[in-house]
């Protein structure tokens, strides 16, 4: 029991200290490596979409130039970079697409691939995912 309590305290301490650290440390945008890396991720992501028949189905009618520009702004802005997002809000953008839970996660896998190709470290990738995960509720199953 003593060992258990100690271990739990240890885990809690690690957990809390990492939360505190976050307040003082650099933005995710900086950890990613700035604007160039955001562009690289967006370009890789577009390549991933093109390779994936399920996800490409959603995009086949879209204007890729606009998508690239807005997604770069979006990532840059939400990771704490010096950009303004000028696109539409998440609900409006994904209205009528009826994106399933499964396809959403498929999209997440493509984003992970895109970040891997851009040599983004695992620990920075997770912080990126943490920023975008809460947006899922505005994106999936929109009739």
């Amino acid at each position: 029991m003593v060992i258990t309590v100690k271990t739990l305290i240890l885990f809690t301490a690690i957990f809390l200290s990492s939360c505190v650290n976050k307040l003082h440390s650099e933005s995710v945008y900086q950890s990613l490596g700035g604007y160039q890396k955001v562009e690289e991720i967006a370009d890789n992501y577009i390549l991933e979409i093109e390779k994936d028949p399920v996800i490409f189905e959603y995009f086949k009618e879209s204007d890729v130039e606009r998508y690239r520009a807005k997604v770069i702004e979006h990532i840059c802005h939400h990771t704490g970079g010096p950009c303004e997002y000028t696109g539409d809000d998440m609900q409006r953008v994904h209205d009528g697409m009826n994106i399933t839970e499964s396809d959403f996660n498929r999209g997440v896998d493509l984003l992970i691939n895109a970040m891997n190709t851009a040599d983004i470290p695992y620990r920075v990738q997770n912080r990126v995912l943490a920023i975008f995960a809460p947006m899922r509720k505005d994106i999936i199953y929109r009739p």
Binding site: F11, F15, T100, R127
Partner: protein, 295 residues
């Protein structure tokens, strides 16, 4: 000006180059759309010792397979625990329905090294997710479940003084949450379960005893760190009742490392400390568990 390069164009070049590759690719892609693949890697969890989706010894709120809310899944598992005086095997299967309901069956064989005997029980599990998603919701994913257990032969249970040497049912509620990037950038998972039970040593030694014959609520927990997309390490604790007057029962704990190469398979190696079991003191040993996802 950037234009989409569609899959159709790509497939055409593949076809020209290599028909076989296209056929293989086709089956891989079609296969994926039928089977439950909709959860993120690692988020289906593992199979716990009683056959429910969970960690190793603790049930989690997760539904056992990789099914999303539009899919179904089927998984099989086999677990071996090599203790000083016993060997416990547990194997079985679990079906996940639309990431909402889990139905499981497990068969446990406890080999008694000294006498060469064996205690066997069947466990039928049912779990349903009430709320949330372990990654995407702000609050944890919450599920409730039952594990109905029937002993194949109650002789040993009677010998150690169990009030019921036939069958029993556990009821539990579990909450599970993944915090992305929370521990220095690593994903952190925790699970907390409360179980109402009368079972002695999972039910292998029957239900209830001279010291206590009522349902008691036991607390069970797991914490883990996802070291990479494929590796998880963690710790679990499971509080146990102590119903029998003749033999003591201790809380269980384990330290585990799990390898999850893909959505078809995972393998867990753990060090378990299970305390006194029947007349054998301080039982420790290795735990090996594999789950295969068929659908």
């Amino acid at each position: 000006m950037r234009k989409w390069v569609g899959v159709k164009t790509m497939c055409k070049c593949l076809l020209n180059k290599n028909l076989l590759v296209t056929i293989v690719l086709y089956f891989l892609l079609v296969g994926q759309s039928i089977a439950g693949q909709g959860k993120l890697l690692e988020t289906a969890g593992l199979t716990q010792i009683e056959g429910s989706g969970g960690g190793g010894i603790v049930p989690w709120a997760t539904i056992s397979g990789y099914d999303s809310r539009d899919e179904m899944s089927l998984s099989v598992f086999n677990t071996l625990v090599f203790l000083d005086d016993y060997r416990l095997q547990s194997w079985g299967a679990s079906a996940g329905l639309f990431d909402r309901v889990e139905m499981s069956y497990a068969r446990q064989n406890l080999h008694l090294s000294a006498s060469g005997g064996e205690i066997r029980q069947n466990i039928y599990g049912l779990k349903t997710r009430l709320y949330g998603d372990l990654i995407y919701s702000v609050l944890p994913q919450i599920s409730v479940g039952v594990q109905h257990k029937t002993l194949v032969d109650g002789a040993v249970a009677s010998t150690v003084g169990a009030k019921n040497n036939n069958s029993g049912t556990d009821f539990y509620v579990a909450a599970t949450k993944v915090h992305l990037g929370a521990v220095g950038g690593y994903n952190f998972i925790w699970n907390l379960a409360a179980r109402a039970t009368k079972a002695n040593q999972l039910g292998l030694l029957g239900y209830g005893g001279a010291k206590n014959n009522d349902y008691q609520v036991m607390v069970e927990g797991s914490v883990g760190v996802l070291l990479s997309r494929n590796w998880v390490i963690g710790f679990e604790y499971r509080q146990k009742p102590n119903n029998l007057s003749g033999v003591k029962e201790d809380d269980w704990r384990d330290f585990f490392a799990t390898y999850i190469p893909n959505k078809h398979f995972n393998l867990t190696l753990a060090w378990t400390q299970l305390g006194d079991i029947a007349d054998a003191g301080n039982q420790q040993g290795f735990y090996v568990s594999a789950t295969g996802y068929l659908w």
